[in-house]
């Protein structure tokens, strides 16, 4: 699972849908049986692509996800980039590219801050299927 995906998913327990704590899911507490494993996977860099993805990103949630995964280098506010090819933007766009698209979460778990449910990631695939008693 790419790090960007953490910006698109939330707890799927029905009662959590109305809670602001159902998003983002948290990586801060991992379980011993499934230690967090991140790898770098090369993706072609396109400054335009990153620029056009930026409007979709919930920045506060991304800051939380990045921090919990060990990256504290992001600016506090979402950058506004007018020219993707300007030299002064290149480093920031490359950093975002590496973080969002090239950071693969191979295994680990994500926790809902509202209900505490834990979602496992194995072989890069997060599992959102709920046990029977949580399905309404």
């Amino acid at each position: 699972m790419k790090l960007l995906t953490a910006n698109f998913v939330q707890c799927t327990v029905k009662a959590c849908g109305s809670s602001p704590d159902c998003f983002p899911l948290h990586f801060d507490q991992q379980i011993p049986d499934l230690p967090l494993e991140l790898v770098h996977e090369d993706v072609d860099f396109s400054p335009e692509f990153i620029c056009n993805v930026l409007p979709r990103i919930e920045w506060a949630a991304l800051l939380t996800t990045a921090r919990e995964l060990g990256n504290t280098q992001l600016p506090d506010a979402k950058p506004e980039i007018e020219n993707p090819h300007a030299a002064e933007n290149e480093q920031l766009l490359r950093d975002l590219h590496t973080l969002l698209l090239e950071t693969q979460i191979i295994q680990g778990s994500m926790r809902c801050a509202n209900c505490g449910h834990i979602y496992f990631i194995r072989d890069s695939i997060p599992n959102f299927l709920l046990p029977g008693h949580l399905v309404q």
């Binding site: 995906t5 335009e48 993805v53 409007p55 979709r56 072989d123 959102f128 299927l129």
Partner: protein
């Protein structure tokens, strides 16, 4: 004609093998190329998110990122664990794309609301007494029925998606493409969705053996 993506490593005992319905979907996407590109390819527009529910082999999503919108974001879902992994292989085998992830889930559970710009859904549309149970699939490790059996009128799974379309789709620019067979009574379904404020068009129809398959397009009235 764009080439059909290859699926060399597909284990057809575990994951639905692309068939007439899948190919109808690919043909439709090709016909819809001008509409989709016009809707989403504007420079500086936020990148569209394309979601395929129940992506199976991954052939439809792969075709989409290869030929229709190469610079979009792609998420696929499947309840079948083997489909989740093989669909990523299918994408890689055909050149991959910058962003494609797969969620193992029921339909689109786990996605945040309002994000989907293009929904692609080739549902289990075959009428049957019930839809398969996950407990049973876990026990037998047989997931193929999930790709086929749609319960009463073959509509049980499609109805569950239509009932939450307004929740998951980006209502300003989102569009959903959903496949039906004639026994799903798509004309009645379309009328009831129109009454709920949707623009519904049949965009493709084809006879496949003794089945008549059609694909319908859903957008919200602005």
């Amino acid at each position: 004609m764009f080439p059909t993506p290859s699926t060399t490593n597909l284990d057809v005992a575990r994951v639905y093998e692309p068939a007439e319905d899948s190919f109808l979907f690919l043909d439709l996407l090709q016909e819809e190329l001008p509409f989709i590109q016009k809707r989403f390819a504007a420079a500086n527009a936020p990148t569209p998110l394309v979601v395929e529910i129940g992506l199976g082999s991954g052939i439809v999503t792969t075709f989409f990122h290869k030929n229709i919108l190469p610079d979009a974001l792609f998420i696929g879902t499947d309840i079948n664990p083997y489909a989740c992994s093989i669909s990523k292989e299918t994408s890689k085998e055909n050149g991959d794309t910058r962003y494609f992830d797969v969620l193992r889930t029921n339909l689109w559970d786990g996605l945040r609301p309002g994000l989907v710009d293009v929904l692609l859904f080739n549902p289990p549309y075959v009428p049957d007494e019930t839809v398969p149970s996950i407990e049973n699939a876990v026990k037998t490790d047989d997931w193929l029925d999930f790709a086929l059996l749609g319960g009463s009128d073959g509509m049980q799974v499609t109805s569950a998606v239509l009932d939450r379309l307004a929740e998951f789709l980006n209502l300003a620019r989102g569009v959903a493409y959903i496949l039906f067979c004639k026994r799903n009574k798509p004309v009645e379904v379309a009328n009831s969705m129109r009454n709920r404020g949707w623009i519904v068009d049949m965009v493709n129809e084809r006879k496949a053996g003794w089945e008549v398959l059609s694909i319908w397009k859903f957008r919200k009235v602005k």
